[in-house]
Amino acid sequence: MAGLTAPWRRSALVALGALAIIVSACGGGATASPSASASAAASAPPASVEPTESAAANLGDTTLGSNESDAKPKAAVAAIVDYCQTKAGIKVKINTTDHNTFQNQISSYLQGTPDDVVKWFAGNRVRFFAAQGLLSPIDDVWAEIEQYQTPGLKAASLGTDGKAYFVPVYNYPWVVMYRKSLFEEKGYTVPKTLEEFTALGDKMKADGIVPLALGDKDGWPAMGTFDILNMRMNGYDFHIGLMEGREKWTDPKVKAVFEKWAELLPYFQEGAPGRTWQDAAKAALVDKVAGMYFLGTFALEQAGDAASDVGFFPFPTLGTEFDNENAMDAPIDGFMMVANPKNPEAAKAFLKCAGSPEAQVAYVTSPGIGSVAVSPQADTSNYTDAQKNDAETLKNAGKLAQFLDRDARADFAGPSGMQGFLLDFLNDPSQDLDKFLGDIQTYYESLPPQ
């Protein structure tokens, strides 16, 4: 009996082993899109949009990889895709991945089998992947959409080789947001200078309200404060020079910025390193626990029903020679095309459409969105009051920077670089600033040449 069962068991095991090998070889490899890989419990499931009736020319299907997993931006992406599907006669399948997961895996995603079009950010963040050869130049798309853009937008969309790689769709300014009803109730007025700002802060503290909310758990929100203080105190050109490595962090001008920031820190919410920006937005815009919030206007997406009550003003002037520059951060988001798309014609058709003012308006007029279209020809009649305010602010603004983590190189601005340094500063603003800035400069110089 033993002689009969033993060979049967062996051959069953061998067959099982062979089957396991075959299954593992056939199954999705490491190059699957980020939506296929295991992510934390908070990740959103992939979404796809059923195509509407297509127009005359049918160029086929294309795919879009998107990192907008929160409800309102996700609906906005669906809105622009719907518009462009109808107008350009294409079908676009949207693959949404959890926001942070998408960004963490972007490098391996682009090197694998990515979607044809990817929603991404302008500035160094697109330049890096263009330089690695992971994106297609889209000068032919730009030939058609250039009429709707400005020279500043074009500059933010170019790679280091001078070719265009990016189609901008919307941007949003970094401004100080507040609840109008709270200001009316307590009799606060909008401050224009730093003195008025600190006086307002003192008044708010006396009323038991935290003057400025801050949530720096993700590491990047604090960069906005640094950017604006640097641009106000040292000028736009110095700031961009610092981002691009032409100026040094050990410059006394930079030290002055951090000293000023340390002076203003008592007005910011405590415990910032442990608070997400969403919680800080809730504290300022929903719960009225904080009086003001300095962030991009995308924070309005967290305000819910209170969004119509939110007003904003540019960060106050500091009384320096650069006040007239009216500089501010206004990061641009848009789309880029990967190096080897499955359907280049359909992808380019989508990009051409996305660069048009009507498509941009379709995105930003989606409910709850705080950003505005980049094109000067965009029709602003359907904007919310906040968006009209946005567009006005941007028009009146002089110089627009992209934001620290898009103007500076990614390995410097990331978690091992500036994110960690700024958290260190927030934890201990009274530390030796010479050593602190020296560490930053040494780290910058240790990075490999680009």
Binding site: N104, S107, K217, P273, S416
Partner: protein, 325 residues
């Protein structure tokens, strides 16, 4: 003549019942084996395929990481790898600010597990070995965190430790603005908060391992100890504990590996920033995403490998030595 005799003898299998393999001679061409051809092919496949997988998925990437740690590379395009010698290592030890905090946090993690989590697990195992009423319920309850993935444990920890709505702050009555304890945000205490969450899982893990070992201890030993008048404590430390030496070693090695492997909780909480730096999070932050400093990240990984190899070698040496005894 003798050759022909031995050669012809080798074609017919011998009859000895014990299956003794006759000693090979120099002229023997065909190896003598009890295993049939099919058996041998099966064995080669069953041993060979896992070996191939280990070499391909573990050893080759490890070797590649070691090689890459001497380069500067952005991760895209094999032709762009540049060799820069020891620069990554010197930068790591002198310039890179999070490195030494990460090393100290890994050491703290190891010491915490060795002195608090693992002994607690052992203690619970000894208690549950007494077969008190409801022992199965306790075992199930204590083991359940082990079944949860560390990502879920991280999520639960975030809910417990949330400054305004978390359980802990609400129990302590410190939820007002300005009076909140930021368990995960304050860099002086967040490592300990995360360690407690990690221990919640480690205690159950160690407990089950030790319980299994305790069940295998010969009851005659305990009876002998009881007859000799030993107290509970003496019986455990003088009799049971020494007998459990193989299990003790396994538990020690597992503790060391789990603490060196610590990553998920710190990364889920805040990507390993602000007091939760660990060597593993440093590797991830340097390689994944847009940072893409593959050479530098590989250098950190090689440091982690060098540190991890210690307990593994220790374990292997002991295991092989015991085999030879």
């Amino acid at each position: 003549m003798t050759d022909r005799v031995t050669r012809s003898a080798s074609t017919t299998p011998p009859a000895p019942a014990g299956g003794v393999v006759p000693p090979p001679t120099e002229k023997r061409k065909k190896r003598y084996s009890l295993l049939s051809r099919r058996d041998r092919i099966t064995l080669w496949l069953m041993a060979g395929i896992p070996t191939f997988l280990v070499i391909f998925f573990i050893l080759l990437p490890t070797a590649a990481s070691i090689v890459l740690s001497f380069t500067s590379w952005s991760g895209v395009g094999l032709d762009k790898i540049q060799f820069i010698g020891l620069k990554n290592y010197t930068d790591l030890f002198t310039i890179y600010k999070p490195f030494w905090p990460a090393v100290s946090h890994n050491v703290i993690w190891l010491v915490f597990f060795l002195t608090l989590a693992t002994p607690l697990g052992v203690f619970l195992a000894v208690l549950l070995d007494k077969n008190i009423r409801g022992t199965r319920v306790y075992q199930g309850a204590l083991y359940m965190p082990v079944v949860l993935s560390l990502a879920i444990v991280g999520f639960i920890a975030e809910l417990m430790y949330a400054p305004e709505q978390g359980l802990l702050n609400n129990l302590l009555g410190r939820t007002a603005q300005g009076n909140q304890i930021s368990w995960l945000g304050d860099r002086d205490i967040n490592l300990w908060a995360v360690l407690v969450a990690a221990s919640w899982r480690q205690v159950g893990y160690v407990m089950v391992l030790y319980l299994a070992g305790l069940k295998a201890v010969d009851p005659a030993l305990r009876e002998a100890a009881a007859i000799d008048g030993a107290s509970e404590r003496q019986a455990f430390f003088r009799v049971v504990f020494p007998v459990m030496k193989p299990i003790n070693i396994v538990v020690l090695v597992i503790t060391a590996i789990e603490s060196l492997r610590a990553f998920d909780l710190a990364f889920i909480t805040n990507k390993g920033l602000n007091g939760l730096e660990l060597l593993s999070t440093l590797v991830t932050n340097n390689i994944i995403g847009e940072t893409s400093r593959v050479g530098f990240g590989s250098a950190i990984a090689v440091v982690l490998l060098a540190v991890s190899v210690g307990p593994i070698i220790f374990y292997l040496v002991r295991a092989l030595r015991e085999e030879n005894e």
